[in-house]
Symmetry: C2
Subunit: 377 residues, 2 copies
Amino acid sequence: MTVANHFELLAQDGQARTGRLTTPHGVVRTPAFMPVGTAGAMKGMHWREARDAGAEIVLGNTYHLMLRPGAERIAALGGLQTFTGWNGPMLTDSGGFQVMSLSELRKVTENAVTFRSHIDGMKVELSPERSIEVQRLLGSDIAMQMDECVRLPAERGDIERAMRLSLRWGERSKRAFETAPDGAMLFGIVQGGDIPALRHASACGLIEIGFHGYAIGGLAVGEPQAVMLSMIEETAPVLPADRPRYLMGVGTPEDMLEAVARGIDMFDCVMPTRNGRHGMAFTRFGQINLRNARHVDDPRPLDEEAAWPSTSGISRAYLHHLVRSGETLGAMLLSEINVAYYQELMRGIREAIAHGSFADFRERTLAGWAQGDIAPR
Amino acid sequence: MTVANHFELLAQDGQARTGRLTTPHGVVRTPAFMPVGTAGAMKGMHWREARDAGAEIVLGNTYHLMLRPGAERIAALGGLQTFTGWNGPMLTDSGGFQVMSLSELRKVTENAVTFRSHIDGMKVELSPERSIEVQRLLGSDIAMQMDECVRLPAERGDIERAMRLSLRWGERSKRAFETAPDGAMLFGIVQGGDIPALRHASACGLIEIGFHGYAIGGLAVGEPQAVMLSMIEETAPVLPADRPRYLMGVGTPEDMLEAVARGIDMFDCVMPTRNGRHGMAFTRFGQINLRNARHVDDPRPLDEEAAWPSTSGISRAYLHHLVRSGETLGAMLLSEINVAYYQELMRGIREAIAHGSFADFRERTLAGWAQGDIAPR
C-alpha cells in the first residue's frame, strides 16, 4: 500500500534540504526545530512565546502524558493541541525512550515493555499498539513508532537485537496506525547504534514497511559528535528523498547545523530550555554563561543585532542578577531567548538553502561560534 | 516649606476615591494595585505581562536590591526602571520592614538599624538617610520613609516607642529627600499598631512634617481584618484629602475593596503571585484551589466572562494538570491570572467610583465572592 506524502521538498543545496510539511494543524517549514513540551508544558515558557519565537511545531512526551493526566482524559478534553492551548502542529514520541530512562522495574519482551510509573509506582504495559493508541488519543499530527533505543557504547549483539525488535515493532505500529485519519503521519525510526551495516539494514527494513517520514534514533545518547555525524552520513542517503527526516533528541546548534548539512529536516531537544534554567544562553557568539562575573556591570544586551525583544531589550547585567539571585524570571527569559535563537538559526538555514548559499551560511555561523563572546566591558 | 502635590482627586463616592497620580515615569490611576517585584523581578511573571494586565505601577524592595545587585550598581545601569526593563512608575519601600523580617542579628538604635545580610552574612547599616540615598540611587518614583514596624499583638509601650521613633526617622527621611529631583515623591508612614490614639498622633506628626503622600503601615501583620479596617477608619479621615493614601502590604481582594470603601488609594501585596505559585486563583467567584480534583476533567475556563487571555483561553483541567505536575507554567499562568484579576478589580472600582455606583459594585462583588465557585461539571 502506498503511504500518502505530506512533505514537499522545495530546494536542495548540497545535501541540505528545505521543504514544507503539511500537518492537520498547519504547515511546518523545514529544517524545523521542535521545542519540547514534556508533560503538556514547556519548562518556564508560555506556548505563545514559542509561537512568537517562530516555532511551528512542538513535541509532546507520550510517556509523561499517558501517566498524567492520561491519554483518554486528554482525548475527552479535545486532544493535546486544545488541552495545552498550543493549537498548532504537534509530534509525539512513542513513550519507549522515556520508559527506558525514567521508569523502574522495566521489562522488555517481544510483545511490550512493562514498567512502574515514576509518579505513583503503578504497573503499566506499553506495546507498539498501545503506544499508537495513546498517540491517536492525544491527537498528535505526527506519531512515532515504538522502538528500543540502546545507550552507546554497547555490544553489537545488543544493538542488533534492539534494532530487529524495533523493526518488528515498526511493522506492528504501522498496522495499528492504519485507521488513523487522513493527514496524520507515522514516522519509522532507524536504529543500529554506531554500526553502519545495522543502520543500513534498519533503514531498508523501514522503507520496505513504508512510513510518512523517517527518524534517526539512538543517537545523542553518549557517543562523540563525530560518530553521530558519521551515522547520519551512513543513513540519510539511504532514506527516500521525498520524505522528511527527523534526527531525534538533537541537539546543540552546531549538531543541528552539521546534521542539516547531511540531509536532516527536523530536530527536537530540551537543551534550549534546560540550559536556560542553568543560566546559559545560546547566541551567535556561542554559548554564554550568564552566571559569570564579567556580565555584572554590562549594560549591553546579549546580542545588539538580535531581533527578539527579550534578547535585544534586556541587559547582560540584569540577566546576571536574575541568575545569581535564583529568580524564576532568569530561567524564563533565558529559555525564551534560547528557543528564539534556535528558531532564528532554523530560519537562517532555510533561507540560505533556498538561496543556494548554505555552505557560506554554515561557514559564517561556525566562525561566529568559534570566535566566542564579545569582549567584556 | 510646601510640598508639591502630584495627586489629583477626580471623584469621591462615600469615602471611596478615584484619582490620578503623576510620577516621573508616567501617570497612575487610583485606586491602584502594585504588583511586587522583590529583587528586581516578579516571581514567575514577565514585566510585560504585568503591564498588559493593566498594572501602572510596581513595587521594588530596597532591602533586596541594596544587598544584590547593589544600589550604586543599579544607578550606574540607569536606575531600576531601565535595569529591569519595566520602564514605568516604581515605588520602593524603605528596606526597614524586611530588615526586621529577613535579616539576622539586627540591632535598632536611634540612629539606624544594623543587621547581617541574609545573602552573605555581611554587616550592613541602614539609617533613614541611607535608605533615602539607596532609593534615590534606584531612581524610584515614590520613596518611602524608613520606619519601625511592630508585629501585632504587641504592648502599648513597644508600639508607642516604635511610632515615635518612626516619626523622628520620618523627619530625617524628609530632610535627606530635599535634594531629590522635581516630581519624585516621598511618602510618610503612619504607625501606631491597633491603638487609635497612637494612630492619630502618628498621622498628625507626619502631616506636620509634610509628605507627598501618606501610607498606613504596621497592618496586615497578624491582626484580624476587623482591626485593620477599624485602624483605617481611625486614620484615613485625619489624612489630607488631597494626598494619596497607601495601605502597605495589603491584601486579599476583599481587604482592598473594604479599604477603598474607607478612603485608601494604593495597595501592594505578594499574594497574587505567591498564591498563584501554590495553585490558587483569584476570581470573581472567590479564591479557587486548582489542585482540587473537581477540576480534573473540567474543560471550562476559570471564568467564562473574563477578558484576560490566560483566564479565558485555558481550561481548569489544564491548570489542574500543571499544578499537580509541578510544572512552572502552572505557577506562571496562575500568577498572571491573579495579577490580572487584581487589576481588573481596581479597574472596576475606579469606574464605579467615577460613576457614583461604588456601593452597588461593592455589594455585587462581595456577593460574587460569597457565592463561591461555579458548580463542578
